[in-house]
């Protein structure tokens, strides 16, 4: 199979969906002339024209709200927030409009809107450009939330997101853009709410999403050398959640670790951990362990930043912890 980057996979998904369906358009800062700051829409302006590849002013509240309006009118906007941290500015459009309009109107409308936004730390982008904020969105009914880790997944899930009739918060990881992986040539999609067992195992269930999936895989390799057989579950979509896969795995392993790059307090890891406790308490031989970021603001200094969020060694330690 051919190997492409996560960034290229996103680009292909956007391109294919724009070819497939005229109602799909992309909008955001520096999407057209520059082809996005991460280069994901290079060439799109020439191919699809300025009506479907839109450079916006720096007006996140405005253009995200416009996307809601356009979605209600039957188009399929794919909006980019340059960093997920800027969701603060588009927040009302997302939370009080996109997520709620269908319900508030008693089902009169659909809101087929995708908001793509890179999250994640490690690039020395400091406090306002490095956050992982997915749990804000899982807490808002009406939103679907997706956070893929690999080129294969990001492509298949983005295509699904674009075809989905609900607002989807599509969280990419800026560190993954350059990362390569196998992606088939032909057309495929990946359904929401279907976790991927990236590595089967019998001793511990290790649940991750986004970039931490890759760290989890590395940790599993290391642990295998110590004779610990880790099952790595990549959630891929947080809402809807594939509970069945988690349940089956923990029933088998009796131990679980949840890992994410977001701040631990109030994060999605607590949700997963609690659901495991609620669902399979009697199977648990140890408390579910969270491996997550410190409850701190993200510092600029490289040496400090590396202390904030989980690395492979932290996951290894976390797994060993639940086996003690």
């Amino acid at each position: 199979m051919r190997t492409i980057t996560y960034g290229k996979a996103i680009s292909e998904a956007l391109h294919e969906e724009m070819l497939r369906d005229e109602s799909v358009f992309v909008m955001g800062e520096d999407m057209a002339v520059m082809g996005s700051v991460f280069g994901l829409t290079k060439g799109f302006l020439d191919e699809f024209g300025p009506n479907r590849v839109i450079d916006t002013p720096i007006s996140e509240a405005g253009f995200s709200g416009m996307a809601v309006g356009a979605a209600i009118r039957g188009l399929r906007p794919v909006v980019e927030l340059m960093y997920v941290d800027f969701a603060t500015l588009a927040y009302d459009s997302i939370v009080n409009q996109a997520a709620k309009i269908r319900y508030m109107t008693g089902g009169q409308v659909k809101v087929p809107l995708v908001i793509r936004a890179p999250g994640g730390a490690g690039r020395r982008n400091a406090a306002q450009h490095s956050q992982s904020l997915e749990n804000w969105f899982t807490h808002i009914p009406g939103l679907k939330v997706v956070a893929p880790a690999t080129p294969y997944d990001v492509k298949g899930l983005l295509k699904t997101a674009i075809r989905d009739d609900d607002p989807v918060i599509f969280i990419e990881h800026k560190f993954c853009y350059a990362q390569k992986g196998e992606v088939p040539d032909g057309e495929y999609t990946i359904p929401f709410g279907k976790a991927d067992i990236k590595r089967p195992g019998k001793d511990v269930t290790l649940i991750a999403y986004s970039r931490q999936t890759n760290f989890a895989m590395e940790a599993a390799e290391i642990l295998a050398k110590d004779g610990i057989d880790v099952e790595v579950i990549d959630l891929r979509s947080l809402v809807p959640l594939d509970w069945e896969t988690i349940e089956a795995s923990v029933k088998k392993t009796h131990r679980a670790v949840v890992v994410h790059e977001a701040v631990k307090r109030g994060g999605y890891g607590a949700e997963i951990a609690t659901q495991i406790m609620e669902g399979v308490f009697d199977y648990l031989d140890a408390p579910v362990k969270r491996v997550a970021a410190l409850n701190v603001v993200i510092p600029f200094s490289p040496t400090l930043e590396d202390l904030v969020f989980p690395h492979v060694k932290d996951i290894v330690a976390g797994v060993k912890d639940v086996l003690r």
Binding site: G69, I72, R73, S93, Y103, G106, Q108, V109, D164
Partner: protein, 333 residues
């Protein structure tokens, strides 16, 4: 002198009168139900401001779209909605436009192009601007009118929306219902300009202020703006100066308004004014007007009865309509 404008006809005047009266009666009936406890939550009436809803709707073509305000009963009604289904919605009944899930603040009738009133001040502007963007992308020629209050013009979304609409010549019209107050706050105390329409200069678009209690003035200004938008020349800002007679919401004692101001504006009641014009100019007799009024009253009484007699939504409805696909699972956990 509304009756002197050139496009004015007897038929129009009477139609406008009936529409304004319907809005007034609808809302006074809602107040009644509210007071009697059939309705809960926030009820924002537009009593005194009805000429704007009527003037705006008169300027619209069937395919045009509208994003009304949180004070939008009139706008939704005059555009052609069924008062029964509206009143039912205000009472939280399953027969309402939104199955009772929206209420007064979230009235929508998308079939008629009414994209929904909004409880977030300023949110209607980007949504409506996005509707206009959709028209541009689709290459169709409907226009979206976006209605909002004086207070909303101080939200950042006003700025962002008008800028993009102007820069991209989007087919929309921004209509500011300036009733001089945002809740208790005199707009002049918190706003840097006397007339909201002045702000048009900051976006290089036409801005005009009209008497919002003159249905013709509103209709003409909005028509001009809509035509411009339809020609692809971009948005305009139309400010309609008006006044709300009742509290911001039902129950608001309006201690913040000077008595004389209230009295002064009550004299300019748009309904009283048009009624007088019609009768004085002989377009209709008082008897004919009284007859219309009776019909309107009966219609709204019927709406109240319909709403009262309608059932509340069934319990299962609480978890439907959150998602259009995979709803059950996405709500479950």
């Amino acid at each position: 002198m509304p009756v002197k404008t050139k496009t004015n006809t007897n038929k129009d005047a009477i139609k406008y009168y009936r529409e304004m009266k319907e809005v007034r009666e609808f809302e006074m009936k809602a107040v009644e139900l509210f007071t009697e406890g059939f309705m809960a939550g926030n009820l924002h009436t537009s009593v005194g401001q009805e000429a704007i809803a009527v003037g705006v709707c008169a300027a619209l073509k069937p395919a045009d779209l509208m994003v009304p305000t949180h004070r939008g009963h009139g706008q939704v009604l005059v555009r052609g909605s069924d008062p029964n289904l509206m009143m039912a919605e205000l009472c939280g009944k399953s027969t309402g436009y939104c199955k009772g899930k929206g209420g007064s603040m979230h009235l929508a009738n998308v079939e008629l192009g009414i994209l929904g009133t909004n409880g977030i001040i300023g949110a209607s502007l980007p949504i409506g601007t996005g509707s206009a963007l959709a028209s541009k992308i689709k290459g169709t020629n409907e226009v979206t009118v976006i209605i909002f209050g004086d207070g909303a013009s101080n939200e950042g979304t006003f700025h962002e929306s008008l800028n993009m609409a102007s820069a991209w010549k989007l087919p929309c019209v921004y209509i500011c219902e300036n009733n001089l107050y945002g809740v208790s706050t005199d707009i002049r105390r918190v706003t840097s300009v006397q007339d909201i329409s002045t702000r048009a200069k900051g976006y290089d678009i036409p801005g005009v202020t009209v008497d919002g209690n003159d249905v013709y003035a509103v209709m003409h200004a909005v028509s001009t703006a809509i035509e411009r938008a339809r020609r692809g020349e971009g948005p305009s800002l139309v400010e309609c100066k008006t006044y709300r007679h009742r509290g911001h919401y039902e129950g608001d004692p309006q201690i913040y308004k000077p008595k004389e101001e209230v009295e002064e504006w009550k004299k300019r009641d748009p309904i009283v004014r048009l009624r007088k014009e019609i009768i004085e100019s002989g377009m209709a007799s008082e008897a004919e007007i009284l007859d219309i009024e009776k019909q309107v009253a009966a219609k709204m009484e019927a709406a109240a009865v319909f709403a009262k007699e309608s059932p509340f939504p069934e319990a299962y409805e609480v978890t439907t309509d959150i998602y259009s696909s995979d709803n059950e699972r996405s709500v479950a956990r």
